[in-house]
């Protein structure tokens, strides 16, 4: 195909890239706002990463503990994020999550129920009250299926197994996107006035990860190449409990719900070691004896929560330390025991997919034996920088939401706050895009030379006579990141990573895909290397700049939180001569919000409003 006029062109008002919770919710809103909406995704509809989410979605409905309200949720989120979160985003999230969850129920979601027949909520790390609306341990499936089954009746045009490679610009504003169909390998141009990026994260840059093949950071790289800024990229969340044995399942997630429902972490000596790792900031709200932890589990409202439910960064570091000091489990992790604490039937009812996962993949019966777990790369807190209210990036017409967007979660995300983030900011980005399109006075035009450039870049790996194996380059990247940009970081290792990434970029120039363009995973792998490596480089450079330890970012050469670093955020963007990484001042928090974040619990309880 030499002439770009032969490339298929599809026109919509807006295209949403990504059909996870964020993209689906955004597309539904766009459609409700009267926009002709296209929804593009790499996999089949309903298979996005969101489907894997287990534990629940956080919303201060107050169904289980009426003391809960948006302010306490907001306070928990800010404290979990070590105060780096966008104040406004954390506020919008906490205020709107309950209505977005209720709306899901109207659209067909069937959550677990309380005794009174309301949506049941469970405990999770960092959340003061039982707050996570859930369905056993398959909440993500419920979310995605509800949005999907409702969404397909809203007039949305769904383009499945279609991978977007580049954003197309008219001057500096959005004009559309360039993509290919997986099945035939043919290219397609999407003409659109606005694009909403809901592509999720970049976990596949690491070897041990809970993420699926889709998480190659495409959204980060495309937005970066189009001129958007990225923020907080140094904050990558390692979930403390991934499977570690057998090797082929290493990284697969074990939901925090296991601990929320009573599971405890033990070292090889059978000791509940988390009591030794309670940070000062959380000490007043954490149980300091097993006896108190047990009372809390039994529902005693005066007891404080057990330390296993501290935020993920704290728990992941504690496990890493136990292993390092030779107190780990046989395969280099910790034991997670629910068998001796919760009756068999209750485990099977509350955690059915965990039960199956261990039974079938590890031959472990979690109702009888402890699990072996260790940290796994799970979530990118960082992402595309957006305006808190409209979700627009600094590229006119480019919006972002869900895991693809940054700032909502600060230095560390609380469990359950992602699913609620998807539906709140998916909704808002739909409204934002509609607003933007209304304000346009002229229609953006596609620039043919940009399309031609994108096309020739895309076919290059197929046309080379010989070259690097894309799968092996991907493995090389994963080794670099696992060895050098892991839970605890140092300047030396980060610098090593940058050098190695530069080498890898050179090799990528000669990557070769065997075979033809029809449904060719080798070619897709080759095409995703650019996004993977760009995302990895952003994380590494940002991590090198932030000289402190905060939330999910731990520098052994700069221990502890440093006050001056609370006032700035690290921004990454494309400069004239490569990647620019800068420190940017954060605006001072609005007084009302600061008052809530720093208030005592007593001051906030039961003040729903």
């Amino acid at each position: 195909m030499s002439n770009i006029s032969e490339i298929q062109t599809i026109e919509h008002d807006v295209i949403v890239i990504g059909a996870g919770g964020a993209g689906l919710r955004a597309a539904i809103e766009c459609s409700k706002q009267g926009l002709n909406t296209g929804l593009v995704c790499k996999s089949l509809l309903g298979k996005a990463h969101t489907v894997m989410a287990e534990g629940g979605m956080a919303a201060a409905l107050g169904n289980v503990d009426p003391r809960d309200n948006w302010k306490v949720h907001f306070r928990d989120t800010m404290r979990g994020g070590k105060f780096l979160n966008s104040w406004r985003m954390a506020e919008l999230h906490a205020r709107h999550a309950p209505d977005r969850v209720r709306e899901l129920e109207q659209w067909g979601a069937v959550f677990d129920r309380t005794e009174e027949g309301k949506i049941r909520q469970r405990n999770f790390g960092g959340h003061r009250y039982p707050r996570l609306a859930h369905v056993g341990d398959r909440t993500g499936l419920e979310l995605i299926r509800s949005l999907q089954d409702y969404g397909i009746h809203q007039g949305i045009h769904v383009h499945m197994e279609c991978t977007v490679l580049n954003l197309l610009l008219d001057g500096d504003r959005i004009a559309g996107a360039f993509a290919y169909w997986r099945e035939k390998g043919r290219f397609v141009i999407f003409k659109a006035k606005a694009v909403i990026m809901a592509t999720g994260g970049a976990g596949k840059a690491w070897r041990i990860t809970s993420n699926s093949w889709e998480y190659t950071g495409d959204g980060y790289a495309m937005a970066y190449d189009a001129g958007a800024e990225l923020v907080h990229m140094e904050f990558t969340q390692f979930h403390p409990t991934g499977m570690i044995w057998p090797p082929s399942v290493r990284g697969i997630l074990v939901t925090e719900g296991v601990r929320g429902d009573g599971g405890v972490l033990l070292n090889k000596d059978g000791k509940r070691f988390m009591f030794d790792y309670i940070p000062e900031r959380f000490a007043p709200e954490t149980a300091d004896t097993e006896e108190e932890g047990n009372r809390w589990l039994a529902g005693d409202k005066d007891a404080r929560r057990p330390p296993e439910l501290l935020t993920r960064d704290v728990v992941a570091r504690a496990i890493t330390r136990e292993v390092k000091e030779d107190r780990g489990s046989p395969h280099g992790g910790a034991f997670l025991d629910i068998a001796s604490r919760v009756p068999e039937e209750a485990i099977k009812k509350q955690l059915p997919s965990m039960y199956h996962q261990f039974k079938e993949l590890a031959e472990v019966d979690i109702t009888k034996q402890p699990m072996e777990v260790g940290p796994t790369l799970h979530y990118c807190m960082g992402g595309i920088a957006v305006d808190a209210d409209s979700q627009q990036t600094r590229v006119p017409g480019l919006f972002a939401c869900g895991e693809a967007a940054g700032r909502m979660h600060g230095a560390n995300r609380l469990g359950g706050n992602s699913l609620s983030d998807l539906i709140v900011f998916g909704w808002l980005s739909g409204l934002g895009a509609a607003e933007y399109i209304k304000s346009l006075s002229s229609k953006p035009e596609i620039n043919p030379s940009q399309v031609e450039e994108a096309r020739s870049e895309a076919v290059a790996p197929l046309n080379r006579e010989s070259g690097e194996n894309p799968y092996l380059l991907h493995e090389e990247l994963q080794t670099i990141m696992n060895d050098n940009v892991n839970i605890v970081r140092t300047k030396e290792e980060l610098e090593t990573a940058i050098e190695q990434l530069e080498e890898l970029k050179k090799k990528m120039q000669t990557v070769k895909a065997d075979g033809a363009s029809q449904y060719n995973p080798g070619w897709h792998e080759a095409l995703s290397l650019h996004s993977l490596i760009t995302s990895a480089e952003m994380v590494t450079r940002a991590a090198l700049m932030r000289e402190e330890s905060r939330g999910a970012h731990t520098r052994i050469d700069f221990e502890g939180e440093r006050e001056e670093w609370e006032k700035v955020e690290v921004i990454v963007r494309k400069g004239e001569s490569g990647m620019e990484v800068i420190k940017q001042d954060r605006p001072a928090p609005p007084k009302e919000l600061a008052d809530i974040a720093y208030a005592t619990l007593e001051e906030l309880e039961g003040t729903n409003g």
Binding site: S212, P247, S248, A516, P521
Partner: protein
């Protein structure tokens, strides 16, 4: 570690053949791991669908030694060390390439189904639903859309009556909506006339392959057939049920169930 032979179907809509691959199999590996290993080393362009690798997304369905299964949940040690393992795409849907098939027909069926319509007094308000009243609905909602049940249902697989029957996956979707405590829509006429509930003759093959252990036949399809029978053979019971509350509804159902059993046998 042991070396094994895996036979994989390679080809596209124009035909293809089985190709043997030698692989080192490590402890704990599932069939999908082995396919990935072959893909990375020997066959970069081998097409296979997958996402979660944990039995949660339903992407990786295929036929392994003749059994329809999720390849990410099928451990290599389920097979004898010297057993040849043969992997091929699911049969009921058209082949795109290698292990990947065109399942778009399923998405079309889903679109034909009327979504949840909350009753007037529940619309816009918090639903009050008791756990025991939604247990069944939640069972059906565990479905990961792997389409293994669609693949084995002989109405679709052998008789190829895709125009007449939506298949077991969508029978449970319909059942889940019909049994939803606050749903007000009526799908029964459509279930009989358009979705082909009468085509199913309760062979239970769908139930046997469901990786989510959903009781498709006994818990969804038979009760739905009963509702169809009620409506067309005993409309009075239906009217009573429609007009009464949830508790009476269950009672009426139980009473009607026995009486309907005979009728039911005639229609299947």
């Amino acid at each position: 570690m042991a070396e094994r032979t895996i036979r994989i179907w390679r080809g596209d809509e124009n035909g293809g053949e089985f190709v043997d691959y030698q692989v080192e199999v490590d402890e704990g590996m599932v069939v999908l791991d082995v396919i990935h290993k072959i893909q990375a080393k020997d066959a970069n362009d081998l097409a296979v669908r997958w996402n979660c690798k944990a039995g949660k997304c339903g992407s990786c369905s295929m036929e392994i030694n003749g059994r329809p299964k999720l390849s990410c949940m099928t451990r290599m040690n389920e097979y004898e060390p010297d057993e040849l393992i043969t992997v091929q795409p699911v049969k009921t849907f058209p082949i795109i390439k290698d292990l990947v098939t065109d399942v778009s027909w399923n998405y079309e069926q889903n679109k034909r189904i009327k979504p949840l319509l909350p009753k007037a007094d529940a619309a816009g308000k918090d639903f009050i639903m008791m756990q025991e009243d939604v247990d069944r609905v939640q069972e059906f909602r565990k479905c990961i859309e792997c389409y293994l049940c669609q693949n084995v249902c002989h109405v679709l697989r052998d008789q190829d009556k895709k125009g007449e029957f939506v298949g077991p996956r969508f029978m449970i979707r319909l059942a889940g909506l019909e049994m939803h405590p606050v749903d007000a829509a009526d799908r029964i006429p459509q279930i009989r006339d358009e979705f082909g509930s009468g085509m199913c003759n309760i062979t239970r093959c769908c139930t046997d392959v469901c990786p989510e252990s959903i009781g498709l036949t006994d818990n969804a399809i038979i009760p739905i057939k009963e509702r169809v029978v009620d409506r067309y053979y005993d409309p009075v019971a239906w009217i009573i049920r429609k007009m009464s509350g949830a508790d009476e509804k269950r009672e009426a159902e139980e009473k009607a169930a026995d009486a309907k059993q005979a009728e039911l046998q005639k229609t299947v």
